[in-house]
Each structure stands twice: as structure tokens, then as C-alpha cells.
């Protein structure tokens, strides 16, 4: 069973809930999340009715519980309204003297079946921007059996992924916001994750007029990853992407593939 103990302020976490554990899986982890909120003086917001909060030791400990279904909103509004809600609660938490805002979102309830993956990706990237900008922790709980391949997409755009068993097929990179219009990429962008990387970049490009990528923590990027980067720059609104902090191997491969010589809309800065 994973734990939310290591989660810190400024982190956006993808928690993949083991379907075999059912509600027990949510309950055990959420109890500690609530307790930590109280311990550290955080304001806790739970978005989702799946959780029988009365069953937690110590009750909800003053948490704000929002049932997205009770609002009668449609699916898209459900995702969109969550961002508005956490922004408002973050403002309130600051005024109320809390250290930070601590959000647990039960995505199974917020996201309807068959939702457009790009829309989900855009939602998570916006949430990531919010977390980077505010004193907040956001944990997005996804039922491991509900989202299929889309889970791979969304997990990549969180700082941290928590799950009972590591998924072999999960892409090997993460992309997270590290300032206005700046996204850090870590791990390895390879053929397994190139399509997700391209989709994440195109979505991020729609959020800001310029796009800077920090590759300081990127170990390697293969030819498929580099192709995805060039394609995203070519087909997105920003028309140009600046890459900073790439290691010597990434720069070497970039040159070997001719991207440094040809006119491509990506600048690999030193």
C-alpha cells in the first residue's frame, strides 16, 4: 500500500488506486492525508463522494468535502470547476491562516468515461501550474482499472506517482511546471513515451505564449522523443520551444540527427 507521507508542499501527485483494494484502498491512505493536514496546519479539500469520510479516525478533521456529482455539472465542467474550486480555496486558506492547501481529488468521479485524453492532460497541466504557483499539495486519485492507457498520459504530468505495484508500461519521463511558461522534464523520453510527450508539449504550448523546457534532470531522449519535440514545436501555437540544461548526450544526439543544422523550431540553448 502506498503512502502520502512523503508528499510535500508544491507537489502534484498521481495516486493510482489499486482496484483490488476498493474503497479500503482510498480510506487507509486518505486517513493519513487528513491527519497530516491537521498536524501541519493545512486546509484540506476533498473532491469526491466516494470517500466515506465519517469512517475516518477523527472524522474529516475540518476538511471541506465537495461532491462533484451533487453540483449536477456535466463532465467537462466537472474537471474545469475543480480548478476554480481549488483556486478559491487556496485564496481562503491564505486568509484563514493555514500553512497550505491540501487537495485530494477522486478523479473517478470527476472524469466521465471516455473523456478526451488531451482534455484530461490540459486539466492536469493547469493543476500543475497552480501547484507550482501556490502553497498547495494536490493529489489526484485515479482508479487503476478505469482509465486504461490514459493513465500513462496523465501520470507523466505529475511530480510524483504513487501506486501499489510499478507499471511496466508506464512512460519513463515526468513533465512538471517550474515557473510561468517553464516546464521541467525528467527521466527518459523514449519511443514508449514519445507520443505522450508530444501531447503534453502541445497542451502546455496552448497554456502560454512561450514555452521553455528545462532538461536538467532528463537522463536521455531517443530519436522518437526528439522527433516528438520538433513536431510539437511545429504544430503548436508557440511555434518555437527553447530547451535549457540538456546534458551532453542529449545535445550530441540532437546534432547527430541534424536538428542543430536544419531549421527546426526548437532551440537547444547551452
Amino acid at each position: 500500500m502506498p503512502t502520502l507521507d512523503p508528499v510535500e508542499i508544491g507537489e502534484h501527485v498521481c495516486w493510482i488506486v489499486d482496484p483490488a483494494l476498493g474503497h479500503q484502498g482510498y480510506k487507509a491512505v486518505t486517513s493519513t492525508f487528513l491527519a497530516d493536514g491537521e498536524l501541519f496546519g493545512d486546509k484540506v479539500v476533498i473532491v469526491g463522494s466516494l470517500l466515506d469520510t465519517s469512517a475516518f479516525t477523527g472524522g474529516t478533521r475540518g476538511a471541506v468535502v465537495v461532491d462533484p456529482r451533487s453540483a449536477g455539472a456535466d463532465a467537462a465542467a466537472g474537471i474545469g470547476s475543480m480548478l476554480g474550486l481549488v483556486r478559491r480555496e487556496a485564496d481562503r486558506a491564505g486568509r484563514q491562516g493555514y500553512r497550505a492547501l491540501r487537495v485530494l481529488a477522486v478523479m473517478d468521479e470527476l472524469v466521465p468515461p471516455g473523456v478526451d485524453v488531451d482534455e484530461l492532460l490540459a486539466h492536469e497541466l493547469r493543476l500543475d501550474e497552480f501547484v507550482a504557483d501556490r502553497e498547495a499539495i494536490v493529489v489526484c486519485a485515479y482508479g487503476g482499472d478505469r482509465f486504461g492507457a490514459a493513465l500513462g498520459h496523465v501520470a507523466c504530468v505529475h511530480h510524483l506517482e504513487l501506486e501499489s505495484e510499478p507499471r511496466r508500461s508506464a512512460p519513463s519521463f515526468r513533465m512538471y511546471n517550474s515557473g510561468p511558461g517553464v516546464w521541467s522534464v525528467c527521466g527518459a523520453v523514449d519511443a514508449d513515451g514519445a507520443e505522450v510527450f508530444r501531447a503534453a508539449l502541445v497542451t502546455a504550448a496552448a497554456l502560454a505564449p512561450t514555452l521553455r523546457l528545462r532538461f536538467d534532470e532528463l537522463e536521455l531522449m531517443d530519436a522518437a522523443g526528439m522527433r516528438a519535440l520538433v513536431e510539437a514545436a511545429t504544430h503548436s501555437r508557440v511555434r518555437r520551444i527553447t530547451v535549457e540544461g540538456a546534458n551532453a548526450t542529449v545535445r550530441l544526439c540532437w546534432e547527430m540527427l541534424g536538428y542543430g543544422t536544419y531549421d527546426v523550431p526548437v532551440e537547444l540553448a547551452r
Binding site: 519513463s172 519511443a191 514508449d192 536521455l220 531522449m221 544526439c253
Partner: protein
């Protein structure tokens, strides 16, 4: 035979000529005769030879002629698969200036293992295919019979349509226009340890290679470069080789070998030896592999599938 006469016989593409010599003196005599003929016809000569050969040519008066250009082959490393794209670039650069172009290309032979020698021979065979549509140019390939095994020399002769002997140029009697005959791959070490991989397993493939590489002292940027190469080959198995493959790794004589096998077929003999352009949708993976590894062996048939061996020299710790 004068250069003018031979030039008149040339069609577009490459005139690929073997020069078997014995010792430094004969090398110098043949190379100088070739260069003098070229300069007499106001052609440019690109010279790509081992460092000791370069030094003796540079010491000659023609060595300072601006039409004789010594190519920096050190940047190419040991992998013979990098030679054709390098010649392609050099020839296009210089043939575009309206002058005839000749080349002298000798590959360092000493210290080469059996796998490297087979790849040099394949490179010679591929040269005949690679430049069929290029501007006309003439490549002289000197081989020192004192260092090359006679049987290997015989095989190399079969790849050269022309030959230079005693300063004269003629069609070769030994040349055979035939499919390339591969030698068997050297026996693998530790063949029992096979790692099967499929979609979503690229990270696991890298972990496997890292474990073997680190154990034998390979790290840092060279390890990262190796991991890019293995990622490319494994991804090719998944995309083009039936969706899965097997990996074996071993270290022999200071070289890390990563062997991949899958059910696909690579039917382009030039695969990975053409410089990719950003406009092309594919063809980058094997190119990168050839650029990053010290040697790449590929065996591919419809009957037995494809085996790719990547060789990476493990440098001793400094």
C-alpha cells in the same frame, strides 16, 4: 594511363578502385601517382588514411597543394559504418564546386578483430551501392598486403570493380557483382541469460544493460550514449520486429556487447548509413546507433529474423 583517359571512361557515380601494396614505399608511390594524375586534371583529392600514412603524404610537395585535402577521420571513430556518410558529405561538398573529385581511403587495419574486419569488408561492398546516383568521383582504396590476411584480401578484391597496379588503372578480374557473403557471428558469451522485452519495456531494457555495463566499469556519458543506442534497437524490435525481442549482454576483451534478436527483417542494406533529414518521418534510430556505437553488426534474413549486436569499448578508468 593518363588521368584524362580514365576520366573519359567514367560514368556518373563512383569508380571504386583497389590498390594492394606492400610497405610504406609502395604506398607512397601508388598514392602519389594517383594524386599527381588528379592534380594534372585540376581535380581535388580528399585523403582519409591512418595518421602515419597521412604524415608521409604531408611531407611530400603535393601535401601542401591546396587541392589535396586531408580529412579528419579521428572524429569518425572506429565504426566503418560512419565512412559512407562521411564520404557522401565530403564529395557533395567538393563536387559541387565544378571540379572532379578523387579520394584515397585507407582504413586502419592493425588491432582490428574479426567482427570489425567483416564490417570493413561490408563497407567496401556497400560503397558500390551507395554512390550509384552520386556525382562522378573516384576512390582509391589502398590495402597493405603485409598486414591483411591473404584470404581476407581475396574477399576484399571481390568488392572492388577496378584495380590499380604499377600505376595503371583497369577493370578488376577479381571483382564479382554478388550478394554480400556474411561470416557467422562470433559465439556469444553467457548465452543462457536472455531477457525478453516488448512494448513498454524500454526502461527495463536500459536497466538490464546498465547492470552489465556498470559491473564492468562503463559509466557517465558513454553509458548514456550506449543506453540511447540500446533503446533505439529495442524500439525497432517493438515497432518493426513483431512487437517483441530478446536481449543478451556480455563483455569480451574489454568490449560490452548487447545483442538483440527479433522476428523482423531489415531489407535495406544501407539502413542507418544515410544521414537523416528532419523532414523524413523515419530512419533515425539505426543512424543514431551507428553514430554512438564502436561497432554494429546486423544479420537479417526472412528465415531467421534480425540479430543486431552493439559493441561499446569500455575504456579503462583514467
Amino acid at each position: 594511363m593518363s588521368a584524362e583517359t580514365v576520366r573519359g571512361e567514367r560514368a556518373d557515380g563512383l569508380r571504386h578502385e583497389l590498390y594492394s601494396y606492400s610497405g610504406e614505399e609502395e604506398f607512397l608511390s601508388g598514392a602519389l601517382s594517383f594524386i599527381h594524375d588528379a592534380l594534372a586534371a585540376d581535380e581535388i583529392v580528399l585523403v582519409s588514411v591512418p595518421q602515419d600514412r597521412e604524415q608521409i603524404l604531408r611531407a611530400e610537395p603535393v601535401g601542401s597543394d591546396p587541392r589535396v585535402l586531408f580529412m579528419d577521420t579521428a572524429v569518425l571513430g572506429r565504426n566503418p559504418a560512419r565512412l559512407i556518410p562521411a564520404w557522401e558529405r565530403w564529395v557533395v561538398e567538393h563536387a559541387g564546386r565544378g571540379r572532379g573529385v578523387r579520394g584515397i581511403g585507407e582504413t586502419g587495419w592493425i588491432g582490428r578483430g574479426a567482427a570489425e574486419i567483416a564490417e570493413i569488408r561490408y563497407h567496401e561492398w556497400l560503397l558500390n551501392l551507395a554512390f550509384t546516383r552520386s556525382p562522378a568521383w573516384w576512390l582509391l582504396c589502398p590495402y597493405d598486403t603485409g598486414t591483411v590476411d591473404p584470404e581476407e584480401m581475396r574477399k576484399i578484391s571481390r568488392c572492388h570493380p577496378y584495380v590499380m597496379e604499377s600505376g595503371a588503372h583497369r577493370a578488376s578480374d577479381a571483382y564479382v557483382d554478388e550478394p554480400f557473403a556474411w561470416d557467422e557471428l562470433e559465439k556469444a558469451c553467457d548465452p543462457s541469460e536472455e531477457f525478453p522485452y516488448g512494448r513498454g519495456d524500454l526502461a527495463a531494457v536500459r536497466e538490464r544493460v546498465t547492470a552489465c555495463a556498470v559491473q564492468h566499469g562503463l559509466g557517465g556519458e558513454r553509458l548514456r550514449e550506449t543506453l540511447v543506442a540500446v533503446t533505439e534497437v529495442a524500439a525497432n524490435s517493438i515497432t518493426h520486429g513483431g512487437g517483441h525481442g530478446t536481449l543478451r549482454t556480455w563483455v569480451r576483451q574489454g568490449t560490452l556487447v548487447c545483442e538483440f534478436h527479433d522476428d523482423g527483417v531489415i531489407d535495406d542494406p544501407m539502413a542507418g548509413r544515410r544521414r537523416p533529414t528532419p523532414q523524413l518521418p523515419g530512419g533515425r534510430g539505426l543512424w543514431l546507433v551507428h553514430q554512438l556505437c564502436d561497432l554494429v553488426e546486423i544479420r537479417s534474413t526472412p528465415e531467421s529474423g534480425t540479430t543486431v549486436r552493439l559493441h561499446v569499448t569500455i575504456l579503462p578508468p583514467s
